[in-house]
């Protein structure tokens, strides 16, 4: 990934650690966007050095804040565990040495009958990557506006989804599609030059064989609420 000036001089955030605090807020926020709601239950597995330092670095607070939709520079992060309790988000933390990667976090969230299992990694300086969504490997680093289309691996779905975006006149910068297995769950990742509105997301969601749709804003803009 090409880092921006403001990945290095940034994020604007509440500390104490960019890799252990701000990154967790961003990961939590991403998970919330993919789920489409504040979860009622979240189990967070902290790996790597998170496992021993998440308390001191406030990674638990940060994750709660992100799942509640806060940005990394929100002073309310300091009180987010209390806020989570009040808003009915049950948060469970597990130290997990088995996770792959240097600074990995696994977040399993639930809302109603929806369940989502995401593996992410903190890359340093507040930058993050999403490595896996449910059973599908991805590499999302939050550079642009990203649309995720979860679907069943059947012919024609990708063409239809791209068609819906095409009608809006918005350019698709990149596409990747991965599946868990042939005919299994698949995830189409579309990076767009501009965001799409609710109506377009609704249209995508109503396509045959599409099981879920989410829009992720660019990490840097979504997070630094002052920008």
């Amino acid at each position: 990934m090409e880092p921006s000036i403001f990945d290095i001089i940034g994020p604007v955030m509440v500390g104490p650690s960019s890799s252990h605090t701000a990154a967790c807020v961003r990961i939590g926020r991403c998970v919330r966007s993919i789920l489409g709601a504040v979860p009622t239950k979240a189990t967070v597995h902290f790996g790597g050095s998170f496992a021993t330092t998440y308390r001191g670095h406030g990674s638990d607070r940060a994750m709660a804040a992100g799942l509640l939709g806060m940005g990394p520079d929100d002073p309310a992060i300091n009180e987010s565990l209390e806020a989570a309790r009040q808003r009915g988000l049950e948060l469970q933390i597990v130290a997990d040495a088995t996770l792959p990667g240097q600074l990995p976090v696994r977040v399993i969230v639930e809302h109603g009958d929806k369940r989502l299992d995401v593996l992410a990694e903190s890359l340093g300086g507040g930058m993050i990557a999403i490595r896996r969504i449910n059973d599908v490997q991805v590499d999302l680093q939050g550079e642009g506006f990203t649309v995720l289309v979860e679907h069943v691996d059947h012919p024609g779905v990708i063409a239809h989804a791209c068609g819906v975006i095409g009608e809006t006149g918005i350019n698709i910068g990149s596409t990747t599609c991965r599946r868990s297995e042939k005919g299994g769950k698949a995830l189409l990742v579309l990076e767009l030059d501009q965001p799409v509105g609710e109506a377009v997301l609704g249209k995508l969601a109503s396509l045959e064989d599409v099981t879920g749709v989410a829009l992720l804003a660019p990490m840097a803009e979504a997070s630094d609420t002052g920008v």
Binding site: E2, P3, S4, I5, F6, D7, I8, I9, G10, P11, V12, M13, V14, G15, P16, S17, S18, S19, H20, T21, A22, G48, S49, A51, T52, T53, Y54, R55, G56, H57, D73, P75, N78, Q102, L103, S122, L123, G124, G125, G126, M127, G226, V227
Partner: protein, 292 residues
């Protein structure tokens, strides 16, 4: 069309020479090319982030600032007041560098709003140095931040920017290198002098481990920001005086990466060794637990 991307200090220098531009302008053009952000907008946003840096210094100089753990209690204020004319450091700017960097990082330790540069644990260095030099360099603080970011971009691409991956050399060391380069440009240095300042700064921070007490970002981090802010000034001073680093920046970065890879994980932000495991550290937390 010129491709403004760069992977190394050598490539960045070549770009500066070919375009006849300082590092700050090349990196702003890169931003425009890659992310469509106009140079003016980049400068404006940089300015906004500098304002956050100044607020970190202000916040950290308050006499009532303290962290949850109690390990940080207005250290900058204490120094600022007791050393108003300087005991060892007679230059007021250098004294401010020391006080402001500690102040800015205290703000981080105490839950304040900060701008990571490149990380939160090392966020006091650039902020402290620039706030102390603002009177002298004026609007060039923006150029300094842009140049600093270019050094951070190379470090991110060639090595890493986190204590968990490479020890403190990857945070404080890189931050000092970024700051040295930025300051050198703001004081009239050529691009090669800026990157040479970065090499000097990082070379002399190699091997620095990350072993913060209690897994908090306070001991040694807060005062380490003060030490390495002065260190960054020394690097810029030497470089502007024409003193070269025998090992160029790219190679120093490669060494930093290798050193980080060789470093035991216990010394990479896990709190399992080093200062975190001293008798004093353990005693403090035993006592804190007792006191609730």
């Amino acid at each position: 069309m010129t491709d403004y991307r760069f992977e190394s200090a050598v490539q960045l220098l070549t770009l500066c020479h070919e375009c006849g531009l300082p590092i700050s302008e090349v990196v702003a053009l890169r931003e425009e090319q890659l992310f469509g952000r106009h140079v003016q907008d980049t400068r404006r946003e940089t300015c906004r982030r500098y304002k956050v840096m100044k607020s970190m210094v202000e916040e950290g100089l308050r006499d009532d600032i303290h962290s949850r753990s109690g390990l940080t209690q207005a250290p900058a204020r204490k120094y600022y007041e007791s050393a108003s004319s300087g005991t060892v450091l007679r230059d007021p700017v250098l004294r401010n560098v020391l006080a402001y960097a500690i102040a800015a990082n205290s703000c981080n330790a105490c839950g304040g709003r900060i701008v990571a540069s490149p990380t939160a644990g090392s966020s006091g260095i650039l902020a402290g140095v620039l706030a102390a030099f603002e009177e002298r360099i004026g609007k060039k603080v923006v150029d300094a931040i842009l140049t600093a970011s270019a050094v951070g971009i190379i470090a991110h691409k060639r090595a890493f920017l986190s204590g968990a991956r490479g020890g403190c050399q990857a945070e404080i060391g890189v931050s000092a290198a970024m700051t040295a380069a930025g300051l050198a440009e703001a004081l009239g240095g050529e691009p090669c002098q800026c990157l040479n300042a970065a090499a000097l700064a990082l070379k002399n921070a190699l091997g620095l481990t990350c072993d913060p007490v209690g897994g908090l970002v306070e001991v040694p981090c807060v005062k380490r920001n003060g030490f390495f802010a002065v260190h960054a000034c020394v690097a810029a001073e030497l470089s502007l005086a024409g003193i070269g680093s025998f090992i160029p920046f790219d190679e120093v970065l490669d060494v930093m990466r290798q050193t980080g890879e060789m470093m035991s994980q216990a010394l990479r932000e896990t709190g399992l060794a080093g200062l975190a495991k001293t008798a004093t550290a353990k005693e403090y937390f035993k006592q804190a637990e007792k006191d609730g």
